[in-house]
Amino acid sequence: MGKYIFKRVLLMIPTLLGAAILVFLLLRMAPGDICAVRYLGTGMAISEDQIQLCREQLGLDKPQLLQFFDFVWGYFIFDLGTSMWTGQPVAHEIGIRFELSLQVAVMATIVATVIAIPLGIISAVRQNTITDYVVRGFAIAGIAIPSFWLGLMIILGLLVVTQAWFGEPWMPPIQFKSIWEDPAHNLAQLIWPAVATGYRYSAVATRMTRSAMLEVLREDYVRTARAKGMTEKIVINRHALKNALLPVVTILALEFAFLMGGLVVTEQVFNLNGLGNLMVDGVERQDFTMTQNLVMLVVIVFVFTNLLTDLCYAWLDPRIRYS
């Protein structure tokens, strides 16, 4: 098992290095730079030498190979550099946003799991009945509805409904407070994005659960279990579900990893100060250090989640555990 983990970790290296090169090149191929954004976007008359000075101060005139080396070396000495925009250490900037993104991802995962697994099972067990069609329709709608649009509608709905019912329009807080500090405030803010993204997420997981269940229910060992006179409940929960969960766990984990950095649009809609928003800002501002580290963070989270999923697989599936 230890060897297996080691192997998996080793396999991550080329992926991460490739990702680093890719993101580094992509960013530098983009036209324009951060100093132009900083000084020209305001419409004031700023002289060219000030912009040049800004570039020098940010090290943008250094050779690209050196910049790349600095970037990669940073991971070995745990120094990710400073944001070109705020001048704050990147690790600090990311740290501020991490809790929020993590919490939204966790809440969305909970929403998704709670909805998806029972629905998926029901849908599979009652394949091709009205129940199945309704669940599938619900699931496919979840994938079809853009979650940012759903977000817009949720906020508008909240404002309109609260004004109609209570006279005062209410909207979720727009400033993040940690759940440990002010749980009511925290939940009032994050429950909505968690629902908006959780719906899509649950839709994906429902479909997966359904198809995995359908596949497993056709397996010989399920027939064996029935032939032993096991109740339908045991057949589903013990024999089928445990096998069907493997791909579902993968999907849940992957989606979770994607949520950690991939909520770029939803965070805009709900004004969440999360990693996705930071990413959009970084890209817009052409903030190289921030963007490349952030993308790498997302990639690392993804790759590690993959690793954990595989280990989880191994834990759930004895065929891998003992090989």
């Binding site: 010989d220 032939a227 032993k228 006179g229 096991m230 109740t231 339908e232 445990k242 003992y322």
Partner: protein, 330 residues
């Protein structure tokens, strides 16, 4: 003496987009306590569907038992409630399947899968069930049962898994075991081991067995009585020696003649059953073997021949069974 299991005019059809497949179309046979009955037939003859129908394991949709009776100790299994059939499954009638590689749940331990039916049907505690499971494993010839019981199916070879399946089928001391092609997926030497084990155990425990196979040799070695199936019906039934030495149905005859045999002098040429098995969605009212039959007469197209008694416990479904089939003697 009432038979342990009586199947009477069982009809199981599959409703597919291509039409209704009459997989089992009026099958009747009995199994007496303690005897081993074989059902022989080629693929698509309905032998497995019959077996699955007994325990109501036909996937629905598309399959459905549309008619007939399956009386087990007087109770009609074909149309009893789901709860009632569940009481029978695993306890009174258990089953062994063809594919040992896929018939065990890969994520549950051997012990778990073995003790499960005992705890469900025999009200055993977990510890009791475990003790019995160890004994069963020993009985089916698995070394170190105490270690094996905590292992998972993938640790075992195909033969070993089939032994576990046998142990599982014996767990609740059933009265009948249905073995659906239990050795087809196994190698010859392992096949012999497993069949021998099954024969000995069923004899010792006085368990009746239905063995379903396409291998005429296996039947010859292990069965007391034989049912020959073709296109969803039983065409001939009788004691093994009658079937092998005095077949009355042209299909049985042709089948026996078509296999190369080591116990006979080599033929210059094999004598195959010509043609292809029929499409089960497009059966007409006549004998379904008619297009391949060398003895077919006009009457064969008119109606399906009923099973007629040929001798003691020997029945054949052919209009010409009583004629002399001497010209094609064995």
């Amino acid at each position: 003496m009432g038979a342990l299991l009586e199947i009477d005019n069982l009809q199981t059809h599959f409703f597919t987009s291509g039409g209704t497949v009459k997989a089992v179309d009026g099958v009747s046979y009995d199994v007496n306590a303690g005897e081993t009955v074989a059902v022989v037939g080629e693929s698509g003859s309905g032998k497995s569907v019959t077996a699955l129908s007994i325990l109501r394991l036909i996937p629905k949709p598309p399959g459905e038992i549309v008619g007939g009776e399956i009386r087990f100790q007087g109770k009609n299994l074909a149309f009893c409630t789901e709860d009632e059939i569940r009481e029978i499954r695993g306890r009174d009638i258990s089953m062994i399947f063809q594919e040992p590689m896929t018939s065990l749940n890969p994520v549950l331990s051997i012990g778990m899968q073995l003790t499960e039916p005992m705890m469900a049907h025999m009200q055993m505690s977990e510890a009791e069930a475990r003790e019995r499971a160890v004994k069963l494993l020993e009985l089916v010839g698995i070394n170190e049962p105490r270690r094996r019981i905590d292992q998972f199916p993938h640790h075992l070879s195909g033969g070993m898994r089939q032994r576990v399946m046998i142990a599982m089928s014996l767990a609740c001391e059933p009265k009948l075991i249905i073995a659906d092609e239990p050795t087809t997926a196994l190698d010859v030497t392992i096949q012999a081991q497993i069949l021998e084990l099954m024969k000995n155990l069923t004899r010792e425990m006085n368990v009746a067995m239905i063995i379903i196979t396409h291998n005429l040799g296996v039947v010859a070695r292990y069965a007391d009585r034989v049912n020959v199936m073709y296109a969803g019906r039983i065409v001939e039934t009788g004691k093994a020696s009658d079937i092998y030495h005095r077949p009355r149905h042209p299909y049985t005859l042709a089948l026996l003649k078509s296999v190369p045999r080591m116990d006979r002098p080599r033929q210059a040429k094999l004598d195959p059953v010509e043609g292809q098995p029929p499409d089960l969605t497009r059966l007409d009212g006549g004998c379904s073997f008619r297009p391949r039959c060398k003895f077919a007469i006009d009457k064969c197209a008119e109606s399906y021949p009923p099973l007629e008694e040929m001798g003691e416990q020997h029945f054949s479904a052919c209009f010409r069974s009583k004629e002399s089939l001497a010209e094609i003697e064995l």
